[in-house]
Amino acid sequence: MAKEFIKGNDAIVKAALLAGCQSFYGYPITPASEVAHAAAKYFPRVGRTFLQAESEIAAIQMVYGAAAAGQRSMTASSSPGISLKMEGISYLAGAELPCVIVDIMRGGPGLGNISPEQSDYNQVIKGGGHGNYRLIVLAPNGAQEMCDLTFKAFDLADKYRNPAMLLADGFVGQMMEPVAFPAPIEELPAKEWALRATAESKDNLVNSIYLDNDELEQRNYDLTAKHDEIEANEVMYEEYLTEDADMILVGYGIISRILRTVVDLARADGLKVGLVRPITLWPFPKKIFAELSGRINSFFVVEMSEGQMIDDVKLASGCSRPTHFYNRMGGNVPTVDEILAAVREKYTATAV
């Protein structure tokens, strides 16, 4: 199939349109503005809605309305904007509305800077908004995945009636790579629960209020059951040379690309190093870490944050193996060499 050589940010927008997304509501923020620019260009061309909202708060609420009306709808922003969207995300989850949110992460806290970081992990994986809810979070590491995981995000969102997020950074967004786009989706299944402004759908209610304590408790149990189902069925991760590995490197997004090269170089030096890359950050690929911890010597987590995902690696492996950590922050992307040096320092072969 013919491929397109395309930036990750553009790939998201084209994939969304091919996946049947009908509306994009956004608010400019670097480095996510490129997504909005592409959406502003392409959504109207195929008769879909693009609107620049008055704020991220409004944009996510417009998505709430569009999703309630049964559309595939999306928004894109970057870290400070995602903080503002948290109200809406909680409501979307509470009312069980599907949608896709793109977060092209930048440096924080506060205004920070516009360079890539991975410091939104906690805010998007561990809550961020109020209440018991889960955001399905997918972490692409290249342009092809910006496309494929956009499709996946819409599918999972619809399947579970739950908001889904594409978590990336400016590095993955700016990088151009070949992308094979799938054919446009012809028709999506009707959403019986949606507000379609028809006699048949008139009794539908989109709501997150449960006044009665027991009812709300039950509601939460139901949501938990859904979360469990997602955890059981939708985990995605990639393993690279883990079979005989003594040390497992762990990283997501752009870091996983860098780690792949680190693994190759370490292997060339005779170090038995492998890589696990979570693709779904929630549901987190817990099992593989539990499994690996039985046969490896140590984990080595690399993040562009203070250390956020590392907590999940430790939980998943029951802290049963030393879990080393290397990080860069402030928009600095760690180089292959600096990680390799740190890996060498911590590497010890598993005693047999």
Partner: protein
Amino acid sequence: MAKLILQKPKGFYDSFYRKPGDKENTHYCPGCGHGIIHKLIAEAIEDFGIGDRTIMVSPVGCSVFVYYYFNTGNIQVAHGRAPAVATGIKRANPNSIVISYQGDGDLAAIGGNNILQAANRGEHITVFFVNNAIYGMTGGQLAPTTLPGMKTSTTPYGRDIQNEGPPMKVVELLSSLDGPTYLERTAVMSNASIAKTRKAIRKALQCQIDGLGFSMVEMLSACNSGWKVDPKEQYKWMEEMMLPTFPLGVVKDVREEREGWFRETRTMTDEAIKQELDLTMPEPTIFPSELKKGSYHNPSIKLAGFGGQGILSAGAMLANAGMEQALETSWIPSYGPEMRGGTAYCFVNLSNKPIGSPTVTNPDVLMAFNRPSLEKFEAEVKPGGLLMYDSTIIDIEPTRKDIEVLPVPATQIAEDLGNTRMANTVMVGAYIAQTGIMAPAAIDQTLPLALKRKTMVDANKKALAAGVDYVMSR
């Protein structure tokens, strides 16, 4: 509990089945304006026959349970966000009639920007705005519309306009915008005022039905619980306290000037969609090539020079062509502090296996297009790697002995062809000739993708060939 003495309008559910407990009466306090306003809206929905296609947006406030009552599609939303949600619904389904029902805290305080912007966009929705000068639901706190001197839970000594400012006049505020079509303030107290409110509600809905744009009715409404006023005195209180600050009447009505808006829906073929999305790459032709040396395999290439020298597009030429030759490729620009020192660079990877890190500390190949980038990046080249530089522009020579060095008078060659700006393409030609990584025809095939100016394709083909020739005839 307020009794709905008359028969319920059809705009209401026969029985309020979603409401816990009593299914006949509303949850509002006796004498509350919300109940009367609900009834007026329900009657209008019934009379207009729009119940099936109406979607009521329930706010946060005492009217949070609007969805208990209206026999329409219903959605409950976050505090103040109703106009934004209504925007998403209406745009998803232009045939729907979308009603945003909001209190004064909801609309004028927390949702102030949302209503302002929806009104200014001329959003095709109808807003029923219940101004009771207080936060009813949360225990009678100050609202933006609370009257000067009025005691509330959070202004126990009375609203002090030095501290809280004066009451906000919302319809007047919105009337300064060109966006809205119809704005009126009414009161819900005497029979006459209720009759006027009934009429205003209908005009506002008709405005939306006719596709004429944003309509809103602000309704002064009683909240005796919040005001701590005897229900029997509430209308007198409204008359004395509210009317002087909030004059009644139509504030804006430009329905005559507006044209009906009805969005047509489009269906497009797959082919048309792909065309519009610029997804039109033809199946590539693969041109045979032969690497000249094992070390030229799977290169990571750094291209560096001044901004404006076509560094990024030279990278794109290689990456685009590589993709079409079934290689894995990546291209990433790097700006940043280097820009200030006069260099911009990009990384290109060409590989026959998945590409790991798209940038590396020690590239296999460096193409230096100016002196600062040669000075800066020479040391980075991987031992045994290849360094190419524009020997027309760069007046120094590389010093490394452990790498292969290839000077290319790229700017001179480009100048001989009539345009120094094609030095980048000359360099690409020299690179593929030196390494054999791709046939020149492979670059030719994708030149149109890498060049901004499509008129330059033929000239660049010549520049590419000249770069190839330069290496071949060395």
